[in-house]
Symmetry: D2
């Protein structure tokens, strides 16, 4: 039980099937730099600005999940996530950025890095091409990866890292509980579409693939934060 | 100025272009029955149950508006509406229905009347086939029509009508302010897509048509409430 | 084997699960009127005009199937259907209508009956809310029902019915082979998403429901042809 | 007149607004290598395989254009393009690849390069987030850029380049006429949504931006062909 990723067999399998791509994402040098405080301020700023644009499109993708929900529970969790993203997480970013002299309208209009575009449009298309579960497979690496990264950086952080607020945000109870709630819904969404033995369902490899691709695109995003965008 | 429908030239024109279809909707016998209390309880119950299913799909349509928003303001208002629909308006319906012994899960699973299906899927398709503004034209008759109906029933209601809570809900400040906020956003959405003389834009007739069709489908919905569904 | 509906267990089950709604559609009075020639010319004209608008939206729905296809075979069949609908079936209608003095542009711009709107937008939304298979369940009653109706009217037709060309079109080898090809693809699409025992998959009831609703909307369409639209 | 890009003021403006990004795409080293025959065979093979996967998603995007078409002409051209892509252009690729010992199923299942994913999902999302014209702006750099590249390589090609078939395909009358037909439709689509002075419409900058982003993603695609994918 304790070995399950956020108590979900589905998420545990998806993470396992991503192979090396998973640790490459959750223990990326960018992440280590957050924990030990060596991440250059410039890299963090670049990440913050792009993450704001990411949140805009991530909100769109969760809104697509509302469109595609097939149970009351799916709809409620997806709608609450849309609201939390726009009215909490985006506001948090805005405040952090305001301190650095960047307005919300500037943020909304910032030039989108290609690494950002790639990731978010891939997730949106998972919603267009498949069903609610396909979309969940593409959304999960972000939601649950940040949960794991929050705990990892909390455990490995150096005293005095200037990124402790970021670490608190993702390792804190609020975010960790959100992960548990979304994970329970994803698990139920899996069973209600694939049946009691989901790993034997013919869709399984394609769901794993969507999760893995999104994982790789998260790593791309860290690379962009660390080294700058190709654009 | 005071003649403008919720201060919006766009909404005023759309309403005018709907011709007789508009008063047929907002002063329908169902509406008059709410005001004077003569609406049979059975008709109101039928309406309430179907309205719950309507809200599920209306939420999906506003979520599609989040997907299609092209400015921060559009996204914020659409996301807030998704949240308000799921966590406030649907809960209000659930409570009303619980008093009548109908559970939320029963509500979610109730047989959808064909009049409901017609209306909601038409709105969804406006989102798929067009842009954000096309979707707004299809969503507006519900949002602003209920605002007008709230004020109309408030003004004409008989003392002792058992529907006074419903009348309060839609004539009250909360709902009327929501209308004003959404109207301001719709007006801005129009100008930012059609330019300073929107009525001369070639898309104008098609937007009026979407508004008018949705208006007719609202009347269909009242008919279903009053006389029962064809299904 | 010979009892299978177009050789497909999936279609056979879907048809069976539609219960009385299926014969209500395929042996509707409109259909009987085609076979024995008693259908009023006016009803047929009304049907033809609306069927043209139906084909426009049916083409959009098959195009959505291309968007949602997950194998080369699915994509090829869906793309060929889009092409056949626009460049063959719509042209056939245009020619029939031209004889009656109705131009293609008039057809494209004809007022859409509410029964038409209901059906086509329901099918489109099956594509938005679900995956390729959900869309197939909503598209199937039209494709295969017309196949069955073609054979039924061919068998029961009266000599001298003025609708023999229509009967030939749907009972002929071209259309019947199209049905067999699409059925084989639907069968494969089912197995590749639900596994070797699709009827035990938890999605099965919801797929049956989509098929049944589309079947009822076909009957609505015949009613409109026979008695005129509500609009 | 003769200075207009495929006779279309819209396309001419979009191309101009892309600035340096346009020549960076149409006269990329990959293109020059096709013309003078110096492009390594390995690079061409990599491009061919990825281009096949590109065509799958490009077909999906044109199918989305069918879904979003708002006139008979738009629908006919988009549907014909879907058919041409699946049944002609993809087949042409298949044959070229078969000579190199790569089967169609292998092609369909080849690992998608991230440069491919980025481009195609961006185009799909233009269809989801906007209207038909937004989608056309994202689709145009491919359609018309290949037209220009066809003529450019035809004019500059070295005798004996092994890529003469590719050059013939895109400089030939069939492809050039397709460009003219699609361009006429795009021009009409612009006027029917933005009015007689489209460049003054507030949507204009956003349409130019979609065109420019797609142009940059084309250059990314050539880079991938030349140097290999990041994945």
């Amino acid at each position: 039980m304790s070995d399950l990723f956020y108590n979900s067999p589905t998420l545990t399998e998806w993470r396992g099937a991503a192979g090396h791509d998973w640790p490459a994402y959750v223990t990326h040098d960018f992440v280590k730099g957050l924990a030990d405080g060596t991440l250059p301020a410039e890299a963090f700023q670049r990440y913050l600005i792009q993450d704001y644009i990411f949140l805009v499109h991530f909100t769109r993708a969760w809104a697509m999940a509302v469109v595609k929900s097939e149970s009351l529970e799916e709809m409620k969790i997806a709608a609450a996530t849309v609201d939390a993203l726009v009215n909490q997480e985006m506001q948090l970013h805005v405040q952090t950025c305001l301190k650095a002299g960047i307005s919300e309208d500037q943020l909304y209009g910032a030039e989108e890095a290609v690494e950002n575009l790639t990731y978010t449009r891939f997730v949106m298309d998972a919603g267009i091409s498949g069903d609610f579960l396909d979309l969940m497979a593409a959304l999960s690496p972000c939601v649950f990866g940040y949960g794991e990264i929050g705990l990892f950086t909390q455990k490995t952080k150096q005293a005095g890292t200037s990124y402790h607020e970021w670490i608190e945000a993702y390792s804190g109870n609020d975010y960790q509980n959100l992960c548990l709630n979304v994970a329970a819904m994803v698990e139920k969404a899996t069973l209600s579409r694939l049946g009691p033995r989901p790993f034997e369902n013919p869709r399984w490899p394609s769901l794993c693939k969507r999760f893995q691709t999104a994982t790789k695109l998260e790593t791309n995003f860290w690379e962009m934060g660390l080294k700058g965008s190709k654009w």
